[in-house]
Point group: C2
């Protein structure tokens, strides 16, 4: 049995999931490539797997349909339909994102967050959709290993207990080398162009900065990753 038509209800759902609003309303998203399908399976997040080849555990679809579903020009042979899951457990190290907008930046930050033990990532309003295909691709599986919370950052920060909370700034605050490693740390990265929003700034009392030579700012995923490496 091979699915050949895009009027098939399974295929119709997969095509809809290319849009953020349908990912949200269905609580589902797509991953591409056998590596991510396996990762999803291992983490019990896989609903169904699709392949252009007949393989055990996979639903077979035509290459034409796969091309329609897949987001890249490179050949995708397998995709996985996955469940969106969130829980509100907090790790000791928390990364908060205030409207980070570039999918590549978010993906890179997620890899670093996992690598350095920032296992809870809080996505404030205006942050790029976590289940965007580019975010998933550049996060390289970190999406299945982290705990995500979508919320209002001001409320979230006010609700935190026992955490040292840091903003980030290009010049003001404590130089990163002088920040004390603490057990419970939550820090915030802002938007690529505008930094941390005014409302969020008002509920932070300390900022971290990275000393730089003749440079206005670092790429946000670079800055965030250096901080996580240092405070891991």
């Amino acid at each position: 049995m091979i699915i050949t038509s895009d009027t098939n209800p399974k295929i119709k759902l997969l095509l809809k999931l290319k849009q953020s609003k349908y990912r949200k309303s269905n609580g589902l998203f797509i991953v591409e490539g056998s590596h991510l399908v396996k990762e999803a399976k291992m983490k019990e997040r896989l609903v169904e797997a699709y392949s252009i080849n007949e393989m055990e555990g996979y639903i077979t679809i035509t290459e034409d349909l796969m091309k329609k579903i897949a987001s890249t020009d490179t050949v995708v042979k397998e995709i996985g339909l996955c469940r969106i899951e969130e829980n509100h457990e907090l790790s000791n190290k928390i990364l908060m994102l205030d409207a980070v907008q570039d999918p590549g930046n978010l993906g890179a930050l997620l890899r670093s967050a996992k690598a350095f033990g920032f296992d809870t990532v809080v996505l404030g309003n205006g942050t790029v959709d976590l289940y965007n295909d580019k975010v998933i691709r550049s996060s390289q599986g970190a999406i299945f290993k982290l705990n995500f919370i979508h919320t209002n950052l001001v409320e979230f920060i006010k609700s935190l207990n026992g955490y040292q909370i840091y903003g980030t700034d290009v010049v003001n605050g404590i130089e990163l080398d002088n920040v004390k490693k603490e057990n419970k740390i939550a820090f915030i990265l802002g938007n690529e162009g505008n930094g941390i929003s005014k409302e969020v700034k008002e509920v932070i009392d300390k900022n971290i900065y990275i000393p730089m030579d003749d440079t206005e700012s670092l790429n946000v995923s670079v800055a965030g990753s250096i901080i996580m490496y240092k405070l891991r």
Copy 2:
């Protein structure tokens, strides 16, 4: 006087410079936005400046022509025609790139290189074109502050004197925290998918790695920037 036609020789040149081969053959490239035009001027790399508004020191062109020349969908009001310059002076800290291919990664690395004093950047074969519009945009002016060398990396490494040379690897080698800060350091980052090429590996005797938790690799611009931050 306002240029209105794309048959004007100045405009013809600008349009050609969208292609890498013409940038190379003419030794020229384009920057977009008043910030970069000013930076180019300050560094004496500006040949001519163009604007859609009448401004002193700028050649006026129509909005339509500007749209044809500019690389982004966002409105560009000023562009600068700039000279490519290379010299073979070496700073004490050197960043070498072996076929880094994503323009955003290269741009982010250049910002970090400048910020952390890696003022010479060596671009090996297969590395994305430095004067690509995305590289320039994401490098945010670092392009005018660094010294670039395009060369064969194996030859270059063999020619270095008194530098501690490091490769980078995801698992093998010396943990970054244990790398001794030295006066003269040159380190190599490899391609996003394949790492450092076999030929280059053969002329390196030490590797640096960044310890990671349950993560196969970091984004290359993140990994490189953490290393530069640490060894600055």
